[in-house]
């Protein structure tokens, strides 16, 4: 399967770089603009979470983003090696945030779920988190 991998430092400026690059990759399959926008939003949420939560804004850390194109879908994994998600059920089913003081409101996972066709979370405390999302392109 065709694929690309990006390795970026955990700095906010890379959020727009990653979402635009993944969108450009998906354009190869000529999807509707709405589909491209959905992908951009979901990828950005996952990358932002790695920066904010997994790494607590430590800019030296790295995020790996892997994207694969199948015949009809884009499959994206956003991988970090940060603090991990202690309680996946509680923390990812919506409206949970560990940083309310920074005006986070626990919407990231709700948006990722609504915008993508499939979402998979694999996480271990102090090992890291892998978010894998699939979007049908046609």
């Amino acid at each position: 399967m065709d694929q690309i991998t990006l390795i970026v430092k955990a700095i906010p400026e890379n959020e727009s770089f990653v979402r635009s690059t993944i969108a450009a990759y998906a354009v190869r399959k000529n999807p509707d603009i709405q589909i491209i926008n959905d992908i951009k939003t979901a990828v950005s949420e996952a990358v932002t979470n790695s920066i904010v939560h997994a790494y607590n804004d430590d800019k030296e850390k790295e995020i790996h983003i892997n994207a694969r194109l199948s015949d009809d879908s884009l499959i994206i994994s956003v991988i970090d090696f940060g603090i991990g998600i202690a309680d996946i059920e509680k923390m990812t089913s919506g409206l949970f945030t560990s940083k309310p003081e920074l005006e986070h409101s626990g919407l990231g996972f709700t948006i990722m779920r609504a915008f993508m066709d499939e979402l998979e979370i694999a996480s271990d405390e102090n090992v890291g988190t892998t978010i894998t999302m699939t979007k049908r392109l046609i």
Binding site: P12, E15, T48, E103, H104, I111, A114
Partner: protein
């Protein structure tokens, strides 16, 4: 950021990406403008907004709470489809009204 005051309506244009990378800057500028006062209601004009994420939504919710404490209504003005979809999924329209022109 562009803003204008027309007959008590403060219209703030949020052009570009309203994302985590820029949230800090947006927050500072918005709070400065809102602290000036002199308005009866506020419109966040999204007509030139190219992207919004959950951090951007959190930013709007934060300003909404601030304005609510001052008894000043907030409106969301003319979001493009991509922004509208994020706002809808976030449930923001259950507390903030969307309008297509300044009222």
């Amino acid at each position: 950021m562009k803003f204008e005051l027309i007959r008590g309506s403060l219209i703030i244009r949020l052009a570009g990406d309203l994302d985590h990378a820029r949230a800090g800057l947006w927050r500072k500028t918005l709070d400065k403008v809102l602290s000036l006062g002199g308005f009866e209601r506020v419109f966040f004009d999204f007509s030139k907004t190219t992207f919004i994420d959950s951090t951007g939504v959190g930013l709007i919710l934060g300003r909404y709470k601030l304005l609510k404490s001052l008894n000043k209504p907030l409106f969301i003005l003319s979001p493009p489809d991509s922004v509208d979809k994020v706002l809808k999924v976030s449930g923001i329209y259950t507390i903030i009204n969307k309008v297509n022109e300044v009222i």
